[in-house]
Symmetry: C2
Subunit: 688 residues, 2 copies
């Protein structure tokens, strides 16, 4: 089936390579997605005709088309050296959103358009209703916008015509049509040759014979490409590192490529809901049990949860995965710069693929489609980008059992939660991001990391026999297959949590656990501990590094609200997996990702402070972002504040991670603490 | 239905009070359990006739009867001042168990009997086959065995005849039949009046009008009872603390006691397995997917997982929750001593109640019954003490998606795991202990804490109006209802993990993450980190305190086994929720629970070193247990070693915890790390 122009789900003339994960909804294709497509025709037309119903609804297909027309008419699109990076809803004024009630006309819609014109990043704001540009500014600072789909086209063409690269390939017995080069964000290291140019560094892989290209890197070659001129500005074929291409054997992870014996088949198992799910999805508004919230896809951060309320009381104005930082830990030429800021350098939503029913999300999941802007401003659809489902895992919401006299008491409640999931497939890595809403008021944010490791080739096939200590040290990782090193790296994920606990004005309270002593005449008990609460007055007082030896609890309180007993209404942050950065604090990757200096931060709410490593991250110098904002040291007491939680894990690869990694999980929670008057799920019904 | 003597599921003449959680299988009773009982008659007879099939199978009903007969015949039971605490299988010699193969005759069975005779703890070992006592020794050290069911009877009788207590009740307008007193383990504080006596301290509650007695304490009264003489040795009715009894309103958590409106009813949801579960349970041996292990109920530690193997390769010889430490954090007279060692002071298995299908465990769970010894040596049954089920929670085992040229790849595998669950209902608290086996080789140990808080009564009804700073400080907790304080406390849970990674001889390796730097001429990258591995040679080198600033990974390696690539075969410990103790290290509760000095320990394997706070914990002085054993500083390199993981959480109560607490979870994992040659679930099949 051919799509009409207005449907336009296929971005124009874009070369699809692995890192350009734009879905082509191709209903003639026999893939799983084509089935979704043909089954859901009605849904497409509904999506294409949808109007915004809520101030935070993402730009609709027709709004995107209107923006595209305007950009074309004003000659901001379609010319040489004009690159369109993104078209997104500009966050409306928070007060306006808070005042808005369902049924009322929604406030003026603004589109935020990010362009690069002649290498200069520019932000244009379009009043979508009026069809008018209301802002057009160069974006200050050192960074550049992400590589756009438009860039990819030209990037792909470059190596094929660059003779030294062809020579390098020939020397390795390879042809250009057997390789694929991926544009890596180059970080920033003050290397004189790379200054003041918008760049990418290409890493090339042998594509021939396997689809798992990451396992077959051509080690030692780095192509530095100027993204404005599309010229190779530097070319490195390090003679010192001509490791062989790792073999294709055992690299394919697809089930179709496996041979028996298969893994012991388990009997079918599924989460079943004979009467269907208990939540409703109306546009972008989800209602379930005691929860209500808005969820929308977003090109940069994947998705945004907004206006989350429990029992009608505000918990969070907006929450999203603001930025990632993934530094690889080896100083060599082809690797030292790999210190990705994935959301800003690539885009979590743009790099999401449709979720696969039954494997990515359980049977009764509902799916939400995303509309993003292609490189020419035309909208395209990523179907099933987000799934929403009820989760029952055999867990227990609360329980008590005892025998009292003749009375046996056994009260238990099964735990059912609601999950909002998206998966960003950023090249090799896949990040599963779950927002899990519990009936007891807890929100759990869980990240699963899976996918394929970034591989460094080596001439080693074993660490056993003739390998020296120096060679072992130089691996900077683990030999996970023959000629294949999984390089050590970290994952830091910064969550932007604009909590509005029972209203926008909140304070941040650190409850420090302090040891007390009593003299023997007072009590035989020599020591015990108590909580000393400190209200953070300014941003500096709320830069939190977790410590086992100096434990604390962390509360976002509403100083204007108390329970009937006089306790301050609050949500508590329950830390989960956290790490601290091991990089030199003065080094450029650490400065650029300075949000990893602490595990938690509080800033005064500011509509423009959304992205933890700054608005433009590619090649940024660290002049924007959470650490810079926090340095303003603004008041954060009894005002609108934003909490930033930095989740993270160190990753020393192992053979189990090859050729595809079992999911590693990390999470944290926010938990109502004297928010409710009593256990909010006391009156939940047991199962029979 | 009356039970025959031989069935004997009802312990003789035991007064059932809330902390004596012995199940009476009463088939005339209309409770849920009676249904289980009548449905499962065949099962009872099977259980009663069962013979041990595996060296680690728990003592059978008939073995227990044989032990009882022997004890009676040798006059060790049935006389004054003879108290029977437990009859359990004595751990057979590990080498013997490892040599044993299914089908072979099982090695000689020994029963370990713990008695107190004239206040002196005594251990008797019975050769069950020969019907002969092979060991009879006084147990050295300062501690006493747990309060036995026999004790409870007499303890219950004591307050009713103690006039000062009756006077105190009268002064409060209460009658003896309206109250219930629970025997608390008294800790040890060197109080001269309490020395050299086996004691309990009674805390009394108003039982009238609510089943949630914990919410209605009679504050200020402490009855110190000598358990040998059953005389009150001290009586305290503190005039300074005559807080009112908190009201009954809102304390009942049973669904039958609630009134509308109820919590929003969700549509039915369940984990369904149309072809039934994929695991088999043969006696005590579980086989599922790539896993095989033995599980048995245990009176003291709840349950024990033994000989866990994945792909037929050994991972863990034995794993169990060895001890808990729950110190309450207030120095006042009625509270300072509440520093429970729950496993040793009470017994996690003894205090387990039958699991409730559909609420405690999902639909297709299978259940295992326990046979424990009653106070007269007669065995009784706790049905459904353990459940085993497959868990599918909508999670993803591994995933990768991308678009490569014309090829769309989307491979995802649903994550299914196997859970072994027990719930110890230790008076007010319920601990849900899950051992979760994953197909990727990970074992996750998860603890959920729920139930009812231990309450301190207060005359405060609000912390708002006229409350002074001193009064607030004196609360040592949170006002969670009118006149009701939830007292601050900690939970430490020590897991005994006798890992045998691919064989019994293992070493413990700490991989310290260390920052490296390079001069500018080597790399633009200023810093990165790498792993420096240290093999712990002695126990002292393996006392681990986690630190965010000095991160490490922790491996139990098999120095004799390497992968094909030469990597050392290992399992890694992935820490989860951990805390450090805030108590003065020289104080008696900390010395008695010195296993909380570190978050992880390694000791040389020793069959008798099972319980982290020592063999006898009640009133112990800290002369036995993990810290003492570690001080021997034995060799732990390339030998049989045991890992101890101390999981923990601080608990500052909040109103949401009243009148019953939503489950709080904590966990840690062990994870195969170069144990497999590649991702062990690569060949798992996708769902369709």
């Amino acid at each position: 089936m051919a799509h009409s122009n207005s449907m336009r789900v296929l971005p124009a003339a874009c070369l699809i390579l692995s890192m350009v994960i734009l879905l082509i909804v191709n209903c003639t294709n026999k893939s799983a997605h084509s089935r979704i497509c043909s089954e859901q025709k009605g849904k497409w037309s509904a999506l294409l005709n949808r109007k915004a119903q809520h101030p935070l609804d993402p730009l609709t297909h027709s709004e995107m088309l209107a923006v595209q027309t305007l950009l074309r008419n004003t000659s901001l699109l379609g010319k040489e050296r004009q690159v369109l990076h993104s078209v997104e809803l500009e966050d409306p004024d928070k007060q306006e959103v808070l005042r808005w009630k369902p049924g009322q006309p929604i406030p003026t819609r603004h589109a935020e358009v990010i362009l690069t014109i002649d290498g200069v990043p520019r932000k244009i704001v379009v009043d979508v209703g009026l069809g008018k540009i209301v802002e057009d500014t160069e974006i200050p600072g050192s960074g550049y916008p992400p590589i756009s789909v438009d860039d990819f086209e030209k990037i792909m063409a470059s190596p094929a015509t660059y003779q030294p690269f062809l020579d390098s390939l020939a020397a390795r017995g390879l042809k250009i049509d057997e390789v694929l080069c991926l544009p890596l964000s180059p970080g920033w290291y003050g290397v004189p040759e790379d200054e003041n140019k918008r760049l990418t560094k290409l890493q090339c892989f042998v594509h021939k014979d396997t689809l798992n290209i990451y396992t077959r890197p051509i080690e030692g070659i780095v192509i530095v490409l100027d993204l404005t001129t599309m010229q190779v500005t530097r070319y490195i074929d390090s003679p010192a590192n001509k490791a062989p291409i790792p073999k294709k054997d055992g690299t394919d992870y697809r089930f179709s490529a496996q041979t028996p014996p298969y893994f012991a088949a388990l009997n079918p198992i599924s989460i079943e809901q004979p009467l269907g799910p208990s939540f409703t999805l109306d546009g972008h508004v989800v209602k379930w049990a005691n929860w209500e919230f808005h969820v929308r896809p977003h090109g940069r951060v994947g998705n945004i949860i907004s206006q989350a309320k429990v029992d009608g009381r505000s918990v969070m104005y907006q929450g999203f995965l603001s930025e990632l930082f993934v530094p690889y830990q080896t100083p060599e030429q082809g690797w030292y710069f790999r210190t990705y800021l994935d959301a800003g350098d690539y885009g979590l939503g743009i790099f999401s693929l449709p979720l696969q029913p039954l494997n990515d999300c359980p049977r009764h999941a509902q799916y939400m489609d995303a509309v993003f802007s292609g490189p020419d401003g035309a909208p395209y659809i990523t179907p099933n980008m987000i799934c929403i489902f009820e989760r029952y895992a055999g867990d227990i919401a609360w329980q008590h059992a005892e025998v009292l006299g003749n009375e046996k008491i056994h009260e238990a409640r099964a735990k059912v939660t609601l999950v909002v999931r998206m998966i960003a497939s950023l090249g090799n890595y896949d990040y599963i991001v779950d927002w899990e809403f519990q009936t007891d008021g807890v929100v759990r944010v869980k990240v699963g990391a899976t996918g394929v490791l970034m591989i460094k080739a080596t001439d080693m096939t074993s660490v056993d026999a003739n390998v020296t200590k120096d060679e072992l040290d130089d691996m900077r990782g683990t030999l996970i297959s023959e000629n294949t090193i999984g390089v050590i790296h970290d994952h830091f994920l910064a969550f932007h949590m604009d909590l509005d606990v029972d209203g926008p004005n909140n304070s941040f309270v650190q409850g420090k656990f302090v040891r007390y002593s009593e003299p023997p005449e007072v009590s035989p008990r020599r020591s015990y501990w108590a909580v000393e609460k400190h209200v953070a007055k300014t941003e500096e007082e709320a830069r939190i590094q977790f410590s086992l030896d100096h434990p604390s609890e962390f509360y976002v309180v509403n100083p204007g609200k108390k329970t009937r007993l006089g306790n301050q209404v609050s949500y508590r942050v329950v830390p989960g997996t956290s790490i601290s950065s091991l990089l030199d604090p003065r080094s450029s990757p650490q400065t650029r990702a300075a949000f990893t200096n602490n595990q938690m931060w509080i800033t005064q709410y500011n509509r423009t402070e959304k992205y933890a490593a700054g608005f433009l991250t590619s090649q940024s110098h660290g002049d924007d972002g959470l650490a810079v904002w926090s340095n303003r040291n603004r008041n954060i007491e009894d005002t609108d504040i934003t909490l930033w939680y930095i989740l993270g894990f160190h990753h020393v690869p192992c053979q189990e991670d090859f050729p595809v990694m079992p999911t590693a999980e990390a999470s944290f929670e926010i938990k109502p603490t004297n928010f409710f008057e009593r256990n909010p799920i006391l009156k939940m019904q047991p199962n029979h």
